[in-house]
């Protein structure tokens, strides 16, 4: 067919216009986050010895599986190497999320809402839309790559040099584009926006897990994962360009496949056939609560399985703990134990202490992940309202509190279930090993102790939905802040105390997860938990009152 790509240029301009604000926010946030941390890291590890200590702390299967390897030059660790090792993976994941949103928004979502049809009726090539979406992603990733690279280059850290910084930016952009291409394929397979999102995020999660398995085991697995491949550029250490080129070639190949699939199908259709459904509703659907449960059901199932699997994957690594207990003195010295005390400890005690340290780290990370679905569930009534579907329910004999309560009850219940899944996943996989260092009650307590903080954040979401429904971004902004604080907030003097105190995670007492009890745990106070719970209840109640009193948003 002739003119398959006609008018791509105009479409790119149009898409960039639609993206300008969101893309600008993504880029600014990522660049600030990336550039601001480099000098802080340099200050934290000023000399070779400090750098070696932190690297040893990270050189164990659990951390490597979580963060990826930290590379060295002839046994010397540099700030640049540590920085790339600690940061690159997480920033790549956020860039991937940005790309998935860009591609799905401009391809499958536009098709589902029949906007693409109007475009297609113009003298526009058949592949122009997908081509324009990919080029839009290319432009945004290129801007992101260059600004991040330049920003890092001028951050003033010796080992974070110009060449490495530009490579760092390029790797970010390339891995982002790889996920743009992957999600473009899923947009062809699935006929629905939610399906395309689901499959794309599954692929992202899969890439993360694949490289986790590869980084501690068979390296080939890491090379299959775009994230793992990108890390093999060894930015700031070897600046290896080969993986970058490989990534770009794979991206082009995946894009070509997406274009091919796109050209083979009708507009609005997908390759995964739409299934017929029930002729009549099940009894369980026929109530406001039943409806909200049904709408969230698939997400609930996927997230429960994901949390169990993620927990299990960390739990399974516990078996490897013995392998590096031999190296543990360095680590234990690092956490402040004198050699005299060390001599009193058995190998078992040492292993337990290490497990305790990582247990608390894993629990924090998993709780942060659990917050994503919880906030989506809590904010669901808002999107139902904006899309005009809440009106369909509220024009029947359903009161507003009753309608909102469905989602709120599910969200609060899920907070409990998510924490339970993490604990059970960790414990279950660890139990498969010869020695299971976890004590189940303690592991459960260490996860449940986060609940008041989760409730507080959920309460904020209910408040926003009830009173300020247009300010949904506040909730996600606050979530981003909490992630930021949890990941780097422990760097002393980085931020004033009052800012740090805005994160509820800061007040969560640390609970040991093993039977080790020779030293008292850090001074733990449970009073903040009560305060947080009270705040959570207050926010929720205000949200309900506000939801009763305001006009519904209509279109």
């Amino acid at each position: 067919m002739k003119g398959n790509f006609d008018y791509t240029g105009k479409l790119v301009k149009f898409m960039l216009r639609r993206e300008r604000i969101i893309a600008a926010i993504w880029i600014v946030v990522i660049v600030i986050f990336t550039v601001a941390l480099a000098p802080g890291l340099e200050a934290m590890f000023p000399d070779g010895e400090a750098r070696e200590n932190i690297s040893l702390m990270y050189d164990n299967p659990i951390m490597v599986s979580m963060m990826g390897p930290i590379y060295e030059i002839d046994g010397e660790y540099t700030t640049g190497g540590i920085y790339a090792g600690m940061m690159l993976l997480w920033v790549m994941i956020s860039v991937a999320v940005m790309n998935i949103f860009i591609v799905v928004r401009h391809t499958r979502a536009d098709e589902e809402r029949w906007r693409a049809e109007v475009i297609r009726s113009l003298p526009v090539g058949r592949l122009a839309n997908i081509n324009a979406a990919m080029l839009t992603a290319l432009v945004i990733n290129a801007i992101l790559a260059i600004t991040t690279g330049l920003g890092l280059a001028v951050a003033g850290v010796e080992s974070i040099d110009f060449a490495g910084s530009m490579l760092y930016g390029a790797v970010l952009g390339a891995s982002g584009l790889a996920f743009a291409a992957i999600s473009a394929i899923f947009c062809q397979l699935s006929a629905s926006t939610s399906g395309a999102f689901g499959l794309s995020f599954l692929a992202l999660g899969g890439s993360y897990m694949l490289r986790a398995a590869g980084d501690v085991g068979n390296e080939v697995l890491s090379l299959i994962s775009p994230l793992g491949l990108a890390q093999r550029t060894k930015v700031y250490v070897e600046n290896d360009l080969l993986p970058l080129f490989a990534l770009l070639i794979i991206t082009i190949a995946l894009s070509a496949l997406a274009y091919k699939l796109n050209s083979m199908r009708d507009l609005g259709q997908g390759f995964i056939p739409a299934r017929m459904g029930r002729r009549e509703a099940k009894k369980s659907l026929l109530s406001p609560f039943g409806l909200s449960l049904r709408l969230l059901k698939n997400a609930i199932i996927v997230w429960v399985i994901s949390m169990l699997l993620l927990g299990a994957s960390y739990g399974s690594i516990i078996g490897e703990i013995d392998r590096f207990v031999g190296d543990s003195p360095e680590y234990l010295t690092l956490v402040g134990l004198s050699p005299e005390i060390l001599e009193l400890l058995s190998e078992q005690d040492k292993a337990d202490m290490i497990v305790d340290g990582f247990g608390s780290f894993v629990t924090t990370m998993m709780t942060l992940i659990a917050l994503v679905p919880l906030l989506m569930f809590a904010m669901k009534p808002k999107s139902e309202e904006v899309d005009g579907r809440a009106e369909g329910i509220l024009s029947r004999s359903v009161s507003r509190p009753k309608y909102l309560a469905g989602y709120v009850i599910i969200t609060f219940t899920m907070s409990l279930i998510m924490q339970l899944c993490t604990a059970l996943g960790l414990y279950g996989a660890a139990a498969a090993n010869e020695v299971n260092p976890f004590v189940l009650e303690k592991l459960l307590a260490a996860n449940f102790v986060y609940l008041p903080a989760l409730w507080l954040i959920i309460g904020l979401a209910v408040l926003i939905v009830g009173v300020f429904p247009k300010a949904g971004g506040v909730v996600w902004g606050y979530y981003g802040f909490i992630c930021f604080m949890a990941l780097i907030g422990n760097i002393p003097d980085l931020l004033p105390a009052w800012v740090a105190n805005l994160s509820p995670f800061k007040f969560i007492p640390e609970i040991r997860v093993t039977s080790f009890d020779l030293f008292p745990a850090a001074e733990n106070s449970f009073a903040p938990l009560i305060v947080m719970t009270v705040i959570a209840i207050t926010l929720t109640v205000i949200g309900f009152i506000g939801y009763r009193k305001r006009d519904l948003m209509t279109h």
Binding site: S192, R278, A281, P288, S395, S399, T554, H555
Partner: protein
């Protein structure tokens, strides 16, 4: 007795006045037509009646109860079809019909099946695959399958084909014969002409005329006494007669 009664209703969105001192009544057993150009305030009026929007001033009562405060109680006795129906993409049409009906009362299976057949809807398909017309059928079937006292229909046939439009008229006449009350907002004037006992005309937030069709035609007579031939012509005459001063004009009962 009035099934619904609106008195001096004003609704503002910020500085924009969507409804200005609106007065309307619908009597028991009456089919009331509500016509006016796009953006005139028809849907806003209906949303206030449903307690989805709160009146800035004035009162809106349904069955003698306050539309905002007693919304849930009122909704037990009404059926509503919105003009722009957005449904859950991964539920089937059949499931949505059952859900909508059950949120008011027990479902009448026989009625449901009869209507699904009549409107030729495939209830096993997911809503994301439905066209606008099919989504509208889902809402219509759910409304006609419910046993309500007042039916609020907001441009319910804008996506239906002529045959389905005919079936729609049949069903509304059926309601009328059973003594039900209906408020029908529509751009399909032939439909309004055939169904409605009285008509209200709203323009730019003001109800400028209410009355029977004959009364409306009389009121729109030209200087030489010529009556409008059709609803369309009547409508055009109103349209052209309304100047920019409409917001100050009082509502007029003819």
């Amino acid at each position: 007795m009035f099934m619904l009664e609106i008195e001096n209703l004003t609704k503002k969105f910020g500085k924009f006045t969507a409804l200005n001192n609106v007065n309307l009544q619908v009597k028991e057993g009456e089919v009331f037509g509500y016509v006016g150009p796009n953006g005139a305030g028809k849907t806003t009026t209906i949303r206030v009646l449903l307690g989805i929007l709160q009146a800035t001033s004035g009162t809106a009562k349904v069955f003698g109860m306050d539309a905002w405060k007693d919304a849930v109680e009122i909704h037990k006795r009404i059926a509503y079809v919105p003009g722009d129906v957005n449904l859950w993409p991964n539920l089937t049409g059949g499931e949505v019909i059952d859900l909508f009906v059950s949120l008011r009362q027990k479902s009448d299976k026989e009625k449901r099946e009869r209507l699904i057949k009549k409107f030729e809807l495939d209830p096993t398909k997911k809503c994301r695959t439905y066209s606008k017309g099919n989504r509208q059928k889902v809402a219509l079937i759910a409304a006609f399958a419910s046993d309500a006292d007042l039916y609020i229909l907001d441009e319910p046939t804008s996506g239906l084909d002529p045959l389905m439009g005919e079936f729609f008229v049949e069903e509304v006449l059926n309601l009328k014969n059973n003594g039900k009350s209906v408020i029908l907002s529509s751009h399909i004037l032939s439909e309004v002409e055939r169904l409605c006992d009285r008509v209200g005309v709203i323009m730019r937030g003001n109800v400028i005329k209410t009355g029977t069709l004959d009364e409306l035609k009389q009121s729109a007579a030209t200087a030489d006494g010529k009556l409008p031939d059709s609803m369309e012509e009547l409508f055009m005459r109103y349209y052209h007669s309304v100047g920019s001063d409409v917001l100050d004009a009082p509502s007029e009962e003819v």
